[in-house]
Amino acid sequence: MKSDTNSPLFYLNQENVSYKDTVVLKNVTLEINQGERVGLIGPSGAGKTTLLRMLYQKVSDQSAFVHQHYALVPQLSAFHNVYIGRLDRNSTLQNLINLVYPREKVRQEIIPILDSLGIEEKSFVRVSALSGGEKQRVAVARAIYRQKSILLADEPVSSVDPHQAGAVLELINQVAETVVMSLHAVELALKYAERIIGLHNGEIQFDLSAEEVTPIMLKELYQKS
């Protein structure tokens, strides 16, 4: 018998998801353990987002999520958008005060995170005025500020400059114990994830450690129709 500490964080057994007539996930069986760094790869429409959302729903209280389309409030500043990550931890009154007058303590928690992502000077700029890459980094900052042991990220660096993407992923790996992220840049996935899951048409094609993945497997994954 397995003890509690060794039981997997996520356990999916032959899960199926479909919207209307289209099948999005087929027969997915999967175990993810604490401390793992998983990269989801595969062509668009393979079911990466659906899989991530499904995982998130199982542990929404213990995890942070980086949305593919950022899910930011465009009218609020970067600072306030990051603060949203902890709305459920602070009292409603504190939240309301922070909206009008952020306390020094909160500033000192949030601004270093924005600094480490290279957007400190945009802290009090409305998100609607930021570039795509900056918005995405705000979304990552919000997930980091949430301070949860599990971090799920859907294409967290798709709009970030290539030379900064690595640093962002490095940071994500540093702050969370368990990381599951989908990445369309395979070389980033191979570099920043230890375990790679290749998805195609809602099915798992392979589930291997990063060293085991061969160029032929990748070619097959992306060229299959």
Binding site: H69, I84, R86, L87, T92, L96
Partner: protein, 495 residues
Amino acid sequence: MLKTSLVFVGIALIAILLADLEVSTQYPWLEMSRMVSGAFTPDLPVVWEFKSSLFNTVVFALCGTFLGGILGIGLAAFFQYMPVRLFCAFVRAIHEIFWAFIFLPVVGLNSICGVLAIAIPYAGIFAKVYAEIIQESDQEPLEGIPSKAHRLSRFFYGVLPVIYADTKHYTAYRFECALRSSAILGFIGLPTLGYHLETFFKEGMYSEAAALLITFYLLIASLKYWLKPRLVPVYIVLAFVLLSREISLSWENVTRFFTYEILPWPMRRQGIRDGTYTVSFVVTPIWEWAKEIWLEEAWEGIWKTVVLTQIVLVGTGLFSLFGFPLACRHFTGKVTNRIWHYLLIVVRTTPEYILAYIFLTLWGPSMLPAVWAILLHNGAILAFLSSNNADLVQLRMDAPLKRINRYFYEILPRIYGQFLAFLFYRWEVMMRESAILGVLGIYTLGFYIHSAISDDQIDKAILLILFTAILNMGIDFVSQMVRRRLKISTKLSIS
């Protein structure tokens, strides 16, 4: 769309045959020339004498909009529930003047009456529009908010910032409407602008009337300079402080009103006769009482109100279809454009009640003044909107040069759907106005309500107001059905 439009035109033609549209004054042109000369010789210094009424107009509008807005936000939060929606539809179906009639005997002719008369129907309108704004707002930001966050935190971080701009614009627009409502409440005796306007028109003092009206236009035109979001809280606090100085409310009166005076006459008759003022519940006499009011007054009032509304609906449509090209860049030059734009703004800014009063002075009592008043006010709003929409259309290089071809083949087909949607959207407003203009002496519902109030028959007035509200809700429902069936929306889509 064309078929539906023609059906409504047909109905309006029949209504015109049934309506009384004659000019009964002997020298309408003479009166007109006196008015015009008054308009060109405004006695502006006189305004200073009446500054307190101007002030009251603003104070009532501020307090009314604020209270209505707060209530509206509260109601909007529960707008998914049918009873709340019905309640809102009901309170906004009753015109501000009718609300004032209801509060008059309760609180007297004072500020509370004015503020409540604006706040209550506005709460219903705000609730509906705020709920629509929330419903149509961007939902994506909400996904980023932790699911366990408190409802209030969620609202202040994920909803309010998103809807803020739309809400602010709409509320500012409503404040402008509230200034109009507040001004016309003077016509029934409240200490606002309308009070003196009525006197001036009655006495033929047109230079003085023109001065007050011009001040009113300036007040509204200057809104964008002094109605700053940061200053609004200051204004509201000041307004309430000023208001509280003269508040005198007798709870005894209030309870007496709601538990006794509004009860149908047959319930009170026995008590009044034997001097005990007890209430008896007698079903048959109440039924007879209601039936009598229905047969003798309500039926006639509803009929006249509907006839007037249908004429005005089509009249408004025609006015804007003929009128908007003059203010549109595809048809006329820059100078004409500007002139028409400002003209439409002035007409739109004039409360329909005041327009009706002017026409009544010119033509005497018949449906004619009401028709033109409602038609001009709404027509100006609609023509303004249509010309703005038409201006957005980018004509292709080889578009027809002849204006008539341009109108019928390029512009009208593109904006007609939204035009019609907005016209039907205003249908309910026109009906409310048709009913209220009865106060000025045409036999729509307002006439009977006004005379019941004058005779101190509050129970009868309440019943008639109830009929009016139901009629209005009915029209609102029909209008929604027509819009849905034609698949048209007030949101613009030019392509």
